[in-house]
């Protein structure tokens, strides 16, 4: 028999096998990559439930190291979350809920793997765990939230629907984030049926980060003002004429003051929140510069992509493409109406930028992750997220915002002895509903420790407005 041919045939079989084995490797890799996560999270995977029960979920602390929530074992070896008395509802928008029936949301969900991570890679810890045969406990979270402020903000909203969010503009630490109406995470299982029917109240919604329907109204003018300062030469010495309305073709953009502000410059225009002035500036800036200005402040951007470490879901704030839409659309957008929308979280970041000399710091809400023996697993660091405007621009707008609170539309936010900057907004929502009441601000104005955004849904109808709420909250924080 032909030896050579025979050997070649054997090699051919070997090639068949190499193809077969390669296909095993390729398919296995493809499976892991394409559907691994989906398959692992299948309801038929008993590991998930097991893991959750095996490891006692880690605790969550506030910035001062005070306990907010911890897990305790039930008799049947399952576990439940126990909150510090009175912290349930104020902290609900941040922490979310943890329910064996209805899943997890908020920080509880976003940091689930860390809370359940008993760090089995650390050999010292394994030995300690085995030696003490203690209940294996996940890592703990230390938040940047200030519990006193969180409760103060929760109380200050009173019965209004709305949200408050504040951060340290120099570091990016979120100091408080509240939303009302809100569920009680401690009784979520019992309340579920009731809660899921409350469409109007939407207590599961975190109004600070999630709604995509809030028009920012006049608080948007701070962005337009900085855009004007950076793009229109001589804008500060320019005067605008306001007689209560700006006629554009067949449409009139009215001012809140029907009598008009007379001859007015950009500084006074912001202090008095003059729609006519900002309508004209908007038209002069044009569609592209308005949009790019808003986008510099991260409108139209997915903040969860921009800030991948910030694990709570944040909705996109939107500024429309106005090219070819006409001057009335430009004017309306420049005063934060038309189809402009913003989350309170977004507007708080905007306020912080003016407080911090044009630098927007990267917000973070988890200060550090520590294991049960107190060892640091990871610590968040302050970083600049973006620099949308120059320092001079930021300082100029800041001066305007100081006057807003001192003698303009935002005097409600005044704090005795401390200079505060801010901007009010009254966002029209149509359908004859009362306008939303907005306030963004920061204080002390020359070296700010807190930047804040407050919204009261349909707040114009009630005695309380956003500036007042923001003033109370900032005052309680700054006067400590």
């Amino acid at each position: 028999m032909d030896e050579d041919k025979l050997r070649k045939n054997i090699v051919k079989i070997l090639i068949c096998f190499s193809i077969a084995f390669l296909s095993l490797i390729v398919y296995l890799t493809y499976f892991e990559v394409s559907s691994g996560e989906k398959v692992a999270s299948s309801v038929y995977n008993k590991r998930n439930k097991d893991k959750e029960n095996q490891i006692l979920r880690g605790s969550i602390y506030d910035r001062d190291g005070d306990l907010i929530v911890e897990s305790v074992r039930n008799k049947d070896n399952t576990q439940k979350r126990v909150y510090k008395q009175g912290y349930e509802k104020p902290y609900a928008p941040v922490l979310g809920y943890y329910s064996s029936k209805y899943g997890t949301t908020g920080i509880e969900e976003a940091y689930s793997s860390q809370l359940l991570d008993a760090d089995m890679l650390n050999p010292l810890k394994i030995i300690k765990d085995i030696a003490t045969s203690a209940d294996r406990k996940g890592n703990n979270l230390v938040l940047t939230i200030d519990s006193t402020l969180q409760k103060k903000a929760y109380d200050a909203l009173e019965d209004n629907k709305g949200a408050v969010v504040a951060m340290n503009p120099k570091t990016g630490e979120i100091l408080c984030m509240v939303s009302k109406p809100i569920f009680n995470p401690a009784t979520i299982d019992e309340d579920w049926d009731k809660i899921s029917k409350q469409d109007k109240e939407a207590p599961l919604l975190n109004r600070a980060t999630q709604p995509q329907v809030y028009p920012p109204g006049s608080i948007f003018k701070v962005i337009v003002a900085s855009e004007a300062l950076e793009n229109i030469s001589g804008i500060e010495s320019k005067t605008f004429k306001c007689n209560g309305g700006l006629k554009i073709n067949n449409y009139t953009l009215y001012d809140y003051s029907k009598r008009g502000h007379g001859n007015i410059d950009i500084h006074e225009g912001l202090v008095k929140s003059c729609n006519v002035t900002f309508g004209q500036i908007g038209i002069e800036l044009g569609a592209d510069r308005l949009k790019s200005g808003a986008e510099d402040f991260l409108f139209n951007k997915d903040l969860n992509k921009e800030i991948p470490d910030f694990l709570l879901p944040i909705s996109k704030s939107k500024f429309p493409d106005l090219s070819g839409k006409g001057d009335e659309a430009l004017a309306q957008s420049a005063i934060g109406q038309y189809t402009v929308t913003a989350t309170p979280f977004q507007m708080m970041l905007v306020a912080s930028t003016f407080a911090n000399g044009g630098k927007m710091m990267k917000p973070y809400i988890v200060k550090s992750i520590v294991d049960i023996y107190g060892m640091n697993v990871s610590t968040s660091k302050s970083q600049v997220l973006t620099e949308p405007i120059k320092k001079e621009t930021a300082d100029t707008v800041k001066n305007m915002m100081v006057d807003v609170v001192k003698r303009g539309t935002g005097t409600n936010a005044k704090i005795s002895g401390i200079s505060v900057a801010g901007k009010t907004g009254t966002a029209e929502v149509g359908n004859d509903l009362p306008s939303h009441s907005w306030f963004i601000g920061f204080g002390p104005s020359d070296d700010a420790d807190i930047a804040i955004a407050v919204i009261l849904e349909n707040g114009e109808a009630k005695g309380r407005n956003a500036a007042l709420v923001a003033g109370e909250i900032m005052s309680s924080y700054l006067k400590r």
């Binding site: 028999m1 079989i13 070997l14 499976f31 038929y44 590991r47 089995m120």
Partner: protein
């Protein structure tokens, strides 16, 4: 000089296998506070190094890597079995001892392969006999009628018949000259396949088919027989699909196991979940939950490896099998005579096909057919037969020109 260098290389690989095993058994011992694990690990290592010593000492011309690769796979099996249930590993170690003893005996004591090449009717009688007694005496285990119990020890005759089929075909076709010589072997193959399908031992039928195909192809050098056999097999597969409900079931489960995730698809779904839970690096030894997969110590042990050692561990095992059969085919290429060559091809194909069919089934690349993963799965018949086959392979490699 070259051989000395290779010798050192082979030893350093073995050392790695020992180190990995010691670490793995120590981890298991630490977690479960079970010193027995270390003793078992040390014993298995001693067994391997002793065998290696004997083979190297007296027969330095044989293939250097067959034993090393088999040892790696066997250790991987022992580690996983101990982790799943120490009982399995202890029994498996017993089977391994018998297997490796057979391996050494074949290499050291047995006459040359030359001397046994003309016993084709003996091989035929053994193969057919084993398959028939299964049909008569078999008990139903896990839906497959392929186990025979002698006292409390069960064994699978079809595992043993495999070897005889390889020897029979090699013997019958070693001097292939005319088509007529193919008639009897062809009938024998068809009969065996029919028996296996009736016994619902589909995986085994597939292995027999692959072995026959490879041997016939090498013996005749004629691709047309392979093509013809291929079409016949498609016909047979389609036929059995319509004739047997258990075949239809397997296919339906393969297409969508999630539809019957708590019934028929349970095993494969749990297997996929385990593999997915492992991810790239695995959960780490002893930290997964492979026992959620039914029969994990048996057919599904590859899923357990993927869960705890990850995708990388799984790929390592696949590559080890490939290297092992590569050494087998290499021995075939360098073999002195046609009979040895055909036997080497048959054995390499047997191990390769078996590994491919069960791994492919567990990861859902192909329909699942319950067979063991050679050298790793729990099971005496499979372990002993694998080592007997590897011993023959080693013997062939020794008399060949390569080495």
């Amino acid at each position: 000089m070259g051989s000395i260098v290779n010798h050192a290389e082979e030893k350093s690989i073995l050392r790695l296998v020992y180190i990995i095993s010691i670490i793995a058994f120590s981890i298991i011992a630490l977690y479960n506070k079970d010193g027995m694990a270390i003793i078992l690990g040390l014993f298995s290592i001693a067994l391997i190094s002793y065998s290696h010593f004997i083979i190297r000492r007296y027969f330095p011309d044989g293939d250097k890597y067959i034993l090393v690769l088999s040892a790696f796979l066997t250790e991987a099996g022992l580690i996983m079995l101990y982790r799943i249930k120490p009982y399995y590993a202890i029994r498996q170690l017993g089977w391994f001892t018998i297997g490796i003893t057979a391996f050494i005996l074949i290499v050291v004591v047995f006459p040359d392969i030359e001397g046994i090449k003309n016993l084709k009717y003996f091989y035929l009688a053994m193969a057919i006999g084993l398959l028939c007694i299964t049909q008569i005496f078999a008990s139903d285990v896990r839906g497959s009628k392929n186990w025979i119990y002698i006292g409390s020890v069960g064994f699978q005759p079809s595992e043993f018949a495999k070897i005889f089929i390889i020897f029979y075909l090699s013997s019958a076709l070693k001097d292939f000259k005319s088509k007529k010589q193919l008639i009897l072997p062809g009938l024998v193959i068809m009969f065996s396949l029919a028996m296996l399908v009736i016994q619902t031992d589909l995986g085994m039928a597939l292995i027999y088919f692959c072995i026959s195909l490879a041997i016939v192809y090498i013996a005749t050098s004629n691709i047309r027989y392979v093509i013809a056999a291929f079409f016949l097999s498609i016909l047979g597969a389609v036929g059995s699909f319509f004739m047997f409900s258990h075949v239809r079931n397997r296919v339906a489960i393969w297409i969508d196991p999630w539809a019957t995730a708590t019934a028929g698809g349970h095993q494969i779904v749990q297997s996929l979940i385990a593999i997915a839970s492992g991810g790239l690096f695995g959960t780490g030894l002893n930290l997964g939950h492979p026992t959620y997969i039914p029969e994990v110590h048996n057919d599904f042990i590859f899923a357990a490896i993927c869960e705890e050692f990850g995708l990388l561990g799984g790929i390592a095992v696949i590559i080890a099998y490939f290297l092992l059969i590569y050494r087998g085919f290499r021995a075939a290429i360098y073999a002195n005579d046609t009979f040895s060559r055909l036997v080497a091809v048959g054995i390499s194909t047997m191990i390769g096909a078996q590994a491919f069919i069960i791994i492919g089934g567990v990861i859902k690349l192909i329909p699942l057919t319950g067979i063991t993963l050679p050298l790793i799965s729990y099971g005496g018949s499979s372990m002993v037969i694998s080592y007997v086959a590897l011993g023959v392979l080693q013997k062939i490699s020794e008399t060949g020109l390569g080495g």
